[in-house]
């Protein structure tokens, strides 16, 4: 993975000094809270319900075991013993003292990490495919470009005070695992007719109050032009994006207002001025950065391991785990392993300090010392020998990291919600836990099969509810918490936005609501049809009809019953 050189180190050190002084001036009163808020947000520090939350950048989701151990240390020393992995491949600590944040940044810098631009109206951490470099369906490894763009976005002077936050995702595989269609800019690495490498550029996707899938504004952008072209996009957005209404300030609203074609025309015009200028990427720099993502020292192995195959047939629990949590690898004899952070009873995406240390050890023993974070809030060991899967599974299981549920209903995406977040209208984690509890029978889960259940505690959609096959959105009605349900959303190559099925429900009704939706699927599915296929074929009508057919008992006696 990428390693800092002296320039990277110097910039991070200067940033810590700058930030330390900003904190000092805030504490002394030289900076007002209004002035400081913008500065601390650009450093990932949010004021939450109970304490400050610090969001640390994990560029394109890649971590070394050393960095994971540092998280464990931060969790113990500065937080309450755990961290929370997010849908943008970052990690958050929820119980942070302002006075200690400069020291935490210094700790992070010692392992080549930071919290720069993890919040605020600026270009955020760049996300990518968690299987980059190892995926069997990869066309081009996107990580060198992601790192080059990380450096380009870091402290970009012109685009630090945009109308709103700005998120870039990049995918290099046939299947999109980076949710590019719901990003401000979504890049796909592609080849043109002559075999040249470049990007298909999507712009204006997003979730929140107005979910929109991005529009392709350029089918092929040569790789060397990526920074100048993005600069043109950002310059148009910085000047013309709306600033009068926070809910209409994302680039998607601008693109929608003037149309993707007109937006593309303006970008092309802007680009002509800087195209082929000094910001053009060089082959030398691409080669340098790419050298950090070279192939690890793989052993030459048979395509399939006899011991592994034997264990699969003899051990059902192991074979279930392999079926759900082990992914194909482009190198014979290897596999990528997903460690589930969706154990029943634990908030989705949470890992405690002991687990973090343990995961770092697993990475060192089984996977070249690297860990990836998925935007579904799980972790990946990307380079495991098939012959070692059994022992890895046994170890992971003993630490609660081998729940065999990847891609199943209990592998929910979920934001921290009202328990932590001051933006949230409603709690999300307790509802996720209740639903997971209702669907604890593994055979039933396997029968249901592939399904994405995504939940957000408010319209900001950190839990990606719009693109969940089933989406749950927490809403506030007259001071109490309600949940709106949508069906038919999807991420990936066939991205779509879910449709709301009807009036919202109370928290206590939610497990039964999900149960009823699943019953309709099981009743109406054809053979081998996934939930999303059935939902697409039938639309929301049969789900709606069945869910609202009879009153749903709620475990909470108070409040209005949606079916009453």
């Amino acid at each position: 993975m990428y390693r800092y050189d002296q320039h990277d180190h110097q910039i991070i050190q200067e940033r810590i000094a700058q930030y330390r002084d900003q904190v000092r001036r805030r504490l002394s009163g030289e900076l007002t809270e209004d002035e400081f808020r913008v500065l601390r947000l650009q450093n990932g520090l949010y004021m939450q319900r109970h304490a400050y939350m610090l969001r640390i950048a994990i560029p394109y989701g890649m971590l070394s075991s050393t960095q994971v151990r540092k998280f464990a240390h931060i969790a113990r020393k500065y937080d309450r013993g755990y961290g929370h992995f997010t849908t943008r491949q970052n990690i958050q600590f929820n119980w942070i003292d302002l006075e200690e944040t400069p020291d935490i940044l210094a700790e992070l810098a010692s392992v080549e990490m930071h919290a720069i631009q993890t919040s605020g109206n600026c270009m955020r951490n760049i996300t990518s495919d968690e299987f980059a470099g190892v995926a069997a369906d990869e066309v081009i490894d996107p990580r060198p470009y992601a790192e080059i763009l990380r450096q380009w976005t870091t402290f970009h002077p012109e685009f630090a005070y945009l109308p709103r936050k700005f998120k870039i995702a990049i995918n290099g595989s046939k299947e999109d695992r980076a949710a590019i269609a719901v990003h401000d800019i979504g890049l796909t690495v592609v080849h043109d007719g002559q075999g040249e490498v470049g990007f298909r550029v999507m712009v204006g996707g997003g979730m929140g109050r107005t979910p929109i899938l991005g529009s392709v504004i350029r089918e092929f952008l040569p790789w060397k032009d990526v920074m100048t072209y993005l600069e043109a996009i950002l310059r148009i957005y910085n000047q013309h994006g709306r600033r009068d209404n926070i809910y209409k300030a994302r680039i998607k609203i601008l693109v929608k207002a003037i149309g993707a074609e007109e937006f593309a025309r303006q970008v092309e015009e802007e680009w002509q001025d800087i195209k082929d200028g000094p910001a053009t990427l060089t082959q030398e720099e691409l080669t340098r950065v790419a050298s950090y993502f070279s192939t690890p020292d793989y052993a030459t192995l048979p395509a399939s391991d006899a011991g592994f195959e034997l264990h699969k047939t003899e051990n059902k629990a192991f074979s279930n785990w392999v079926k759900r949590n082990v992914k194909p690898h482009k190198v014979p004899g290897y596999a990528a392993v997903v460690l589930s952070l969706k154990k029943p009873g634990v908030p989705p995406g949470d890992a405690n300090a002991e687990q973090l240390d343990f995961i770092a050890g697993l990475a060192d023993r089984y996977s070249f010392g690297e860990v990836r974070v998925t935007h579904e809030q799980n972790l990946v060991l990307s380079d495991v020998k098939q012959s070692e899967l059994v022992t890895l599974w046994q170890e992971a299981k003993a630490h609660g990291l081998a729940t065999p549920n990847i891609g199943l209903l209990t592998d929910m995406i979920c934001c921290p919600g009202g328990d932590f977040c001051s933006l949230a209208n409603a709690k999300s984690i307790p509802i996720a836990l209740d639903i997971a509890d209702r669907f604890s029978n593994l055979d039933y889960l396997y029968d249901i099969g592939d399904i994405e259940l995504n939940m957000s505690g408010c319209i900001n959609a950190c839990g990606h509810h719009h693109v969940g096959n089933i989406g749950i959105l927490g809403v506030d009605k007259d001071g109490s918490e309600w949940y709106q349900v949508s069906i038919g959303g999807a991420q990936g190559n066939e991205s779509s936005i879910g449709k709301i099925i009807g009036p919202s429900f109370s928290a206590g009704q939610m497990p039964e609501v999900i149960e009823r939706i699943i019953q309709v699927y099981i009743r109406d599915r054809t053979e081998d049809e996934r939930f999303i296929d059935t939902a697409r074929r039938l639309g929301i009508a049969p789900f709606k009809e069945y869910v609202y057919a009879s009153p749903i008992k709620t475990t909470e006696p108070h409040g209005e019953d949606a079916c009453a």
């Binding site: 390693r3 050189d5 320039h7 110097q10 910039i11 200067e14 940033r15 000094a17 700058q18 900003q22 030289e30 900076l31 002035e35 913008v38 500065l39 109206n121 450096q151 380009w152 870091t154 402290f155 970009h156 002077p157 012109e158 685009f159 630090a160 005070y161 945009l162 920074m227 310059r235 910085n238 000047q239 600033r243 001025d273 200028g277 000094p278 910001a279 060089t282 030398e284 720099e285 080669t287 340098r288 950065v289 050298s291 950090y292 070279s294």
Partner: protein, 173 residues
């Protein structure tokens, strides 16, 4: 007279900024004598009379575009860009365009809600003068110009990205 930061030092400055009061029309407002920085709109609407004076500068509101002054840019030795709120970042692109696209070489001054923690970025996109907010200590603000000694990407101040300027090592084989 007030103090501003210009070319990295604190200097006395005798320009005044004309801001229209509510209801004042840019075509009718009377531009006082002396060195005045007038709104772009006032310049555009009173160009004939103002063009005769040698002591006029213009300032851009954050929703105006650099290209609106395209034909006249070379006439001015001072152009200002207003930051109504420090978190309104449009002024950065106005400055960049004035410098890069329209080759403006005179004094480019940030006015309005101009604070220490934004000066480094402002300097990078082409500002060389800063009328920092008067309730803040300008000597303190001056320190904001030197927060960083290295930068990754190009802007007005740095024509070459880090990867073209410095030798950077790749992974050790």
């Amino acid at each position: 007279m007030r103090e501003i930061i210009k070319d990295k030092v604190i200097v006395q400055d005798d320009w005044t900024v004309l801001r229209l009061a509510e209801g004042e029309a840019p075509d009718a407002v009377e531009v006082p004598a002396g060195k005045v920085i007038v709104p772009l709109k006032v310049w555009q609407l009173q160009r004939d009379s103002l063009a005769k004076r040698g002591d006029i500068a213009v300032w851009f509101a954050s929703d105006e575009q650099a290209k609106e002054l395209k034909e006249d840019i070379a006439r001015f030795s001072l152009i200002a860009v207003d930051f109504p709120k420090f978190a309104d970042g449009r002024g950065y692109s106005i400055a960049y365009n004035l410098r890069s696209r329209f080759a403006y070489t005179g004094e480019l001054r940030a006015i309005g809600d101009v604070l220490r923690d934004q000066l480094f970025y402002m300097q990078r996109v082409g500002f060389n003068a800063f009328a920092t907010r008067e309730d803040k200590n300008i000597h303190d603000a001056l320190k904001g110009l030197t927060d960083f000694s290295e930068k990754y990407q190009t802007s007005w101040d740095e024509k070459s990205p880090l990867f073209r300027r410095e030798h950077r090592d790749g992974a050790q084989a």
